[in-house]
């Protein structure tokens, strides 16, 4: 009897373990089910490489290239800002800061992670965009750059915490060996610790980028929502995520427009799946 009960419980728990796989598959299936319907009427290359996104025009055009480039510009901008800052911050927390400062900084970074994206978007609209506008003499402060700055600060907590993990898990002996050879602390950090932690650092950067690509609300509020091919980082753009969030409310269920938004979702799912998969590989390689 007891054995029987144990077996039942074990099977139930096992089923639970598979739930996660099921959810990933379900997400894919439900995106694909509606997303792929689009390609019955629209050629896939027109969708992926079309240069005009105007779903409400006559005839409607569903080219996501401007949206993709919008996402790319914003993501690149955010990466350029966040990676050096996160690296420096992680090294400072992990290696240099005294104990009390380390705890304060870590708490601060955690708080930054906890601020909802909608609040970042709101503060960015009211505080950051006027600054960008006057600084660069622009007609509007809602640009790719504004979005990039806000997104950088949303990626920093992810990056810092994983990088700091990677840095502190470098074996002590590496550091001691280098210091014993007469290297300064900075030389040790730069020549020994960072190379040793590099795979963790790469994973951190990728996960941060994954977060940036998927971010929706702040980016929708800050980038100006113009679905045109981006020329500079100081122009308004629109990202893939923002397009879904902004247009889903207005579509008719079962229309081409509706399906096209699911197709965008599918593209996003594919991109983030790839990034997370690669990041996970990088982290696992480190453990070996």
């Amino acid at each position: 009897m007891r054995k029987f009960r144990e077996a039942i419980i074990e099977k139930t728990i096992l089923l639970n373990g598979f739930a996660c796989i099921l959810f990933v598959i379900l997400i894919f299936v439900f995106l694909a089910k509606d997303g792929l319907t689009l390609f019955r009427t629209i050629a896939i290359q027109d969708f992926l490489f079309g240069r005009i996104w105007s779903p409400l025009a006559e005839p409607p055009q569903f080219g996501i290239l401007p949206l993709f480039l919008g996402s790319l510009v914003v993501t690149l901008g955010a990466t350029v800002i966040s990676v050096p800052l996160s690296m420096a911050c992680a090294i400072f927390i992990g290696e240099i800061a005294p104990r009390w400062m380390r705890e304060t900084l870590k708490a601060g970074v955690e708080l930054l992670a906890a601020i909802p994206s909608i609040v970042i978007g709101f503060i960015g609209m009211t505080m950051l965009s006027p600054v960008v506008k006057t600084l660069f003499h622009l007609p509007t402060g809602l640009t790719a750059l504004t979005g990039s700055i806000a997104l950088a600060f949303m990626a920093i907590p992810t990056m810092v915490s994983i990088m700091e993990d990677a840095i502190t898990s470098v074996p002590r002996t590496y550091k001691e060996g280098s210091l014993a050879l007469g290297a300064t602390h900075w030389q040790t950090i730069f020549r020994v610790i960072i190379p040793a932690a590099s795979s963790g650092i790469v994973a951190a950067i990728m996960l941060g980028i994954g977060r940036v690509i998927g971010e929706t609300m702040a980016v929708m509020m800050l980038t100006g929502n113009a679905s045109v091919m981006p020329k500079t980082i100081l122009a308004p753009v629109r990202t893939l995520t923002a397009t879904i969030a902004a247009e889903m409310g207005e579509t008719v269920r079962g229309s081409e427009h509706y399906f096209s938004l699911f197709a965008i979702g599918l593209v996003l799912f594919g991109i983030t799946f790839l990034i997370n998969f690669l990041a996970d590989m990088a982290r696992h390689r480190k453990r070996k």
């Binding site: 009960r5 139930t12 739930a19 909608i118 609040v119 810092v160 996003l268």
Partner: protein, 283 residues
């Protein structure tokens, strides 16, 4: 000119410190601005009244209640599911291909963009299951979204229970499940709790997943059942700051402050619980 290594180090460390300051200052600024501009708006009426005049006056009571509802429903689904999955991974799973698949699935669930969760919730819960735009559909979407957070932290909590505890219990003839239930889980509970609170605080602030699954633009009454739509704080802030013209800024900042206050106090509880466990732990 060649700098001495010590001088180089000083410069490098100063730059690193500067970066840390650049990261931390905006957090403080955001908080100061929110409190400074939002605090005057906050009153008993603001917290407990219905919005009036197309949300340009009155309170945010239904939005607060809506968010609480969503968060409570989401965690009651995600917690058992997440903890059981973590138990499977830590206690039962063998190191094989399947387990790796589950781990990869979890990593990917964590990385799916929030707006894609929204689409998924719309496709599966709202349309396929005919829940309509409802608290149920929104909460289930949020539950799947917070699952990876709960699994990851529960896993860590379970793994931090020493092997010897399990071995002692098994040696006494206690079955595997009983060992997990009576020995491992109680010891891991505070850690699991911390993770769940963090999961809750994350879902409380999410907007994109609830956009198409539950959120009501303007609904000045409380939800009657889980099949009702409801307002939610983050969506309300979005509406106030982008969709409704001529809203008093104090109303926007007040809403933002309430949302951030809610999320931060949850985080604070989690941090305190964690500190408490660390100080109590004898192993």
């Amino acid at each position: 000119m060649k700098l001495r290594p010590q001088t180089k180090q000083k410069i490098a460390f100063a730059l690193l410190g500067l970066a840390a300051v650049i990261v931390i200052v905006p957090v403080i600024l955001i908080l100061v601005i929110l409190i400074q501009r939002g605090w005057p708006a906050i009153s008993w009426q603001f917290l407990t009244e219905m919005p009036r005049m197309g949300m340009r006056a009155g309170g945010i009571f239904p939005a607060i209640m809506g968010t609480l509802c969503l968060v409570a429903c989401a965690i009651s689904v995600a917690l058992p599911l997440g903890v059981l999955t973590a138990i499977y991974l830590v206690e039962y799973a063998k190191k094989n291909w399947w387990t790796r698949m589950i781990e990869i699935a979890i990593v990917n669930l964590a990385g799916v963009p929030s707006v894609v969760y929204g689409l998924f919730g719309l496709g599966l819960f709202v349309i396929f299951f005919h829940f309509g735009s409802s608290i149920l559909a929104g909460a289930l979407t949020l539950a799947i979204m917070e699952l990876p957070v709960i699994i990851t932290s529960s896993k860590e909590a379970l793994m931090s229970v020493p092997r010897s505890f399990r071995e002692a219990s098994l040696a006494l003839g206690v079955s595997k499940w009983e060992t997990i239930r009576c020995v491992v889980l109680p010891n891991a509970l505070p850690g699991i709790l911390t993770g769940s609170i963090l999961g809750v605080s994350r879902t409380a602030g999410e907007t994109a997943p609830i956009l198409f699954t539950v959120a009501a633009f303007y609904l000045p009454r409380l939800p009657q059942s889980i099949f009702d739509q409801c307002m939610a704080l983050p969506y309300h802030l979005y509406v106030l700051s982008t969709q409704v013209p001529n809203v008093k800024p104090s109303l926007q900042y007040g809403t933002a402050l309430v949302l951030v206050g809610m999320v931060f106090s949850l985080n604070l509880v989690a941090i305190i619980v964690r500190a408490h466990i660390r100080s109590k732990k004898q192993w």
